[in-house]
């Protein structure tokens, strides 16, 4: 929680002032620029933002699978009290599986196309938990049953291409759960799926996490999806977190003009507006980001100090945080919206 240093045991994951830089032809891209958050044990945090906001890079930095051009330049990533940045590659490898697991957006490219699905699920338990081949296979079958794959005995011997998109994502979930991790990192796990299948997967994921007490970090661009899965949400813009708090506070009663813009521009199913209100302009360049608040060039409420002052996350009453200097303006706008729907 920003400035507070809570007891170590309360959070499974603590990220402090994380910076990720990417070398590109146009210069150094500051993809993640001072991101801090905690994930409590058994909690679920949503990271939302548009493409290029740094949400996926944050996730990849935690797991230690950044692309070659990208690098964590400063900050701390503490998983269960251990700073991952101090560890060697082989030590981190040992944590992937039993401590943290990841579910990717496109299961077809994350699964091995030439290995039978059952053995892909059994691989983790064999390597990390030291199970024999037979015991690992039994465990894989049990996991396939838990994630709702019909006829697991037969499907064990199938290849990924024989599965539908939803079933592949179930396989990914089974693999993620196979070594009883403490935390699962999800990168847009349902974006490639149809709504009906997305609904099935989201229900499965939340149910399994609730049963086994696994924590979640859930990256998505879809606000309603976050509302279904997560308790807390952090909104990212231009490589920084601009607002953080409980889902129902942030999405229904935002305190940052960017969050307000996101909510207003998304066609909501429950509430049909006369016209959608887009956010003017386009996302900032992360090679040379705007001075002061990164959102000020697109912000309707921007004032002089927004162009110059730093805008760190500040606590507000109610256990929430905003990076906006003039969040009262957003508050007024939300109230005006409510007054005349």
């Amino acid at each position: 929680m920003g400035t507070v240093t809570g007891p170590v045991s309360a959070s499974i994951l603590e990220v402090r002032d994380l910076h990720v830089r990417i070398a590109s032809r146009r210069g150094i891209v500051r993809a993640v620029d001072g991101v801090s958050f905690d994930v409590p044990r058994g909690g679920a945090l949503g990271l939302v933002g548009e493409s290029g906001s740094g949400k996926s890079m944050t996730l990849r930095a935690i797991l230690g699978v950044l692309p070659a051009e990208a690098q964590v330049t400063s900050g701390e990533i503490r998983l269960d009290g251990v700073d991952l940045r101090q560890l060697r590659g082989s030590d981190i490898n040992r944590l992937r599986g039993p401590k943290m697991a990841m579910i990717f957006q496109e299961p077809m490219s994350a699964l091995n196309p030439v290995t039978r699905v059952g053995w892909q699920i059994a691989e983790g338990p064999q390597v990390h938990l030291g199970l024999s081949r037979r015991r690992a296979a039994e465990r894989a079958l049990e996991l396939m049953r838990r994630v709702g794959i019909p006829d697991p005995e037969r499907r064990f011997r199938a290849y990924p291409h024989e599965f539908s998109g939803g079933m592949r994502q179930r396989v990914m979930i089974a693999i993620a759960l196979s070594c009883d991790p403490e935390i699962i990192l999800c990168d847009e796990p349902t974006t490639a799926l149809d709504v009906t299948i997305q609904d099935q997967i989201l229900r499965l994921l939340t149910q399994l996490c609730r049963e086994s007490g696994v924590s979640l970090v859930f990256v998505t661009h879809d606000l309603p999806v976050v509302a279904q899965v997560c308790h807390d949400v952090a909104v990212m813009y231009g490589g920084q977190i601009v607002e953080r708090g409980e889902v129902r506070d942030v999405l229904l009663d935002p305190r940052h003009p960017y969050t307000l813009g996101l909510v207003r521009s998304a066609p909501d199913f429950e509430y049909v507006r006369e016209s959608l209100v887009p956010i003017p302009g386009s996302p900032p360049s992360l090679v040379s980001p705007p001075s002061g608040c990164r959102f000020h060039p697109r912000c309707a409420f921007a004032e002089d100090d927004c162009r110059t002052s730093q805008t760190p996350l500040r606590p507000l009453p109610g256990g929430r945080f905003t990076a906006c200097l003039h969040y009262e303006r957003t508050l007024e706008a939300v109230e005006a919206d409510r007054a005349c729907p």
Partner: protein
Amino acid sequence: MNTVNAVNAMTDVADAEPLLSAREVSVSFPVGSRVGARMRREEHLLRAVDGVDLEMRRGEALALVGESGSGKSTLAQALAGLQPTDRGEIRFDGRVLPASRSRADRRRIQMVFQDPYSSLNPRMTVGGMLRELLRVHHVVPPNRVATFSAELLALVGLSEADLSAYPRQFSGGQRQRVAIARALALRPDVLVADEPVSALDVSVQATILNLLSNLRDELGLTLLLISHNLAVVRHLCDRVAVMYLGRIVEVAPTEQIFSTPRHPYTRGLLAAIPRMTEGAVDGSGPAIAGDPPSPLRIPAGCRFRTRCPIAQPRCETEDPVLAGAPGAGAGAAEHLAACHFAFSSGAGAPRPDRSENEQNA
């Protein structure tokens, strides 16, 4: 343009004739070899669109929704003349369109594709694209091409200077604007937009949706919007057609679809949409269980019965037709559903069933 002139065979039944209509249209694709298909006990032909009736009225915005693989894009391409049909007829403005359309006919129905990164020629400037179109179709006299191009770009919110730019110089939202300008260049009557915003970021989606809505008002376009996002549909469209496995299972005015869905598939589809309010995922079962069946093994009878919560023995044998409420008169034609039990009890709420003891659904 030739012998296929079955024009006016049956005209003027309705008071306002639809601008574009499909009657029993089917589109199928051969998959693999006949022998292999027989060995797998599957069909050799993938019936992507399987006997669809659809009407579009002049000036309306009709949405086509459904899961991937339901055939919505194939149907749209068939309507736009980009995909040959196996069976059925497509009527436009009172006459049947022949299998190979004349240039003049193609001009009237234009399409905007999902991915603005792959649907624009990367080696042509925006101006070049528009010039080519305007010249080939003789939309405006040669001396007006430049000014008309600039007007088109202004219409979609781009500037005249963008005429000399290449697609790579634009963002995703701007490219989609270019794609819309390209479609509008031929002054079409019908604009078919196939998932026009799903490749774009949320904040950009709104600008494109607003643009489509404004263009419809300004130019009196008839719009066919294909989308898997029902929230988008609710925002933009007058009527909604729901597709499942190559068939239309329900058609109704937008508000009726959302307030009283009649088909169990539509109800499930609506229930599956994530809401902004927290925690609808509460441990209850999913809205619709299972995966859609393969279009190579379409179930006999009602094609939704394998996932349907209210399926009856009757559904295995009888294929329900798309029909309105029985005995409700002319107004019933507004809301059609292809389910044996669609109109059997009062409201369209998640109801048990018409007959005896189905309280467990």
